[in-house]
Amino acid sequence: MFGRYNCTFHREEGDILVETEQNGGLLTYRRRCEGKTFERLLVSKTGEFVINPVEPINLPSAITNFLLIEFSPMVIEPGGNQTVYLTFPVEIGVFLEAPKDIEVLDVFGPGTQKYTLYGPPTSGLIARWYRSAVSMEIPAVECFREGVMELSINNLSHEWVEVSRVVFDSTDMKIYYGDFVAAVATMRILSPTLAETDFIDAPLQPGMVKSVELHAARKIPVLNRGYLMEWGLS
């Protein structure tokens, strides 16, 4: 389903249907995902459709930029580092591309969403919540439902640290797709309650294609600055 399409196309994967239909001079874009439908009339002769996974913070409505992944607690020794594989929710973005512009047409995704508060109500932040298993190798995932995140955890502190959640600013998120959706991230633990997280702009496997990012399509300039987790790691 992911890729570039010209004018009319029809793609169906399980519960997801995305298609366009020429109707006189108009183009009808139609999407169905788990019973929810979306339709738009388009006036386009040269526009291209781009369908790819996007930052998973838009459903059911975009209220935050942050993604919190919770997993089974891990205790990491001082100076220790480990690469683990987590999963994250997948949202699918449909973009309309012209030679000089790209616009977001639709964002959808299967499954349910849940949000949480990271930090105290007075100064914390709302984040998309997702529960993941911890794997030591790339787990098998449903391509349109879950993506794989390679997370390198590096404990720079001089103490044993328990970690059971990681928070990202998803505006930095670099998503790649191929046989599955993937992202590569790092977590640098500075103290038992403080860590820096960031995404790395690299494919998890050779040959993966980089996704068009939502904030780029929306022309929102962002600085790749990562996120400082200051409200605890577990």
């Binding site: 459903l59 059911p60 409505s61 209220i63 935050t64 349910t112 969403q113 849940k114 949000y115 949480t116 508060l117 990271y118 930090g119 109500p121 007075t122 100064s123 914390g124 932040l125 709302i126 919540w129 022309k219 929102i220 300039p221």
Partner: protein, 284 residues
């Protein structure tokens, strides 16, 4: 008939030695200043559209706009033969007079500046200020504009905003709301709590953490009262609140738990004797 432009420009206006030329220059400079101010303000607003919060952006745009207008005015004043050094002395005296005459204006102005620095409210926030509840439309130098939930325009002087209690409903990331849900005495309260928690869990914006809490709160006359505390994003809490209650009620009904009707148990001190009409007639 011919016009000599130079002669027309040199015609005195009758106000001191100001000529038509001076007046034209004055208005042209003001006009240019106004045009430049508008052009710069529009472009500054456009340039900062995605970089600054609306509140700070509008404040900065206004500041830039008025500084340019003021600059144009200062540049144009000599055309009217106004000596700016003389203005300083006159301004001092006039300032005193104006200060007394415009105490409330100054008070509002200073309060406005403090509000802008302290930031208790921002444009778009849902607030209760000086007894007015609604969303903040604008924070101006002298007043704050609130649009009530009925769609009314309310202008509150900044002095009043600054000195009154301000409740900002969206200042924090999340807020809590509660439900009181009554069930019958014969219903299983533990089952009701479990069902309510399951329904809350399915709502995306009923926050995972802080976790919702549902418990038996009080025993009422006709019902067991459950209380549910739910946290939601501050900007979405009302949608969550209106959405969830009916879903909980529906889930209760699907599981045989009912919202009770008022009822009263009547106890007769001497017991209750029921006689049929036939028995009464027979006795007679």
């Amino acid at each position: 008939m011919t016009f000599n432009v130079t002669e027309i420009l040199e015609i005195p206006t009758g106000i001191g030695s100001i000529t038509v030329e001076n007046l034209v220059y004055f208005f042209v400079i003001i006009l240019i200043g106004w045009a430049v101010a508008r052009f710069v303000a529009i472009n500054v607003r456009r340039a900062l559209a995605e970089r600054l919060a609306k509140n700070e952006r509008e404040l900065f745009v206004k500041l830039v706009y008025y500084v340019i207008i003021l600059w144009a005015f200062v540049v144009a004043l000599p055309q009217l033969n106004v000596d700016l050094s003389g203005l300083l002395v006159a301004g001092g005296i006039a300032g005193l007079v104006i200060a007394f005459a415009s105490q409330s204006v100054v008070s509002n102005l200073v309060s406005g500046l403090f509000l802008m620095f302290e930031h208790p409210i921002k444009i778009g926030d849902n607030v209760n200020v000086a007894g007015v509840t609604g969303s903040v439309e604008d924070v101006r130098v002298l007043s704050t504009i609130v649009k009530t939930y009925d769609g009314l325009y309310v202008r509150i002087p900044n002095e009043e905003v600054f000195t009154s209690n301000i409740t900002n409903y969206v200042h924090n990331a999340a807020r809590r709301f509660e439900y009181q849900i009554g069930i019958r005495y014969q219903d299983d309260a533990n089952k009701a709590i479990r069902i309510a928690k399951e329904v809350i869990e399915t709502h995306p914006f009923a926050l995972k953490s802080p976790a919702p809490s549902v418990f038996v709160d009080t025993f009422g006359d006709n019902r067991v009262n459950l209380t549910a505390y739910i946290w939601a994003p501050a900007r979405n809490w009302w949608d969550v609140r209106t959405d969830l209650l009916w879903k909980i009620k529906q889930a209760f009904e699907e599981n045989g738990i009912e919202i009770p009707l008022p009822q009263r148990t009547v106890v007769f001190a001497d017991g209750l004797e029921v006689k049929s009409r036939a028995a009464t007639e027979k006795e007679e």
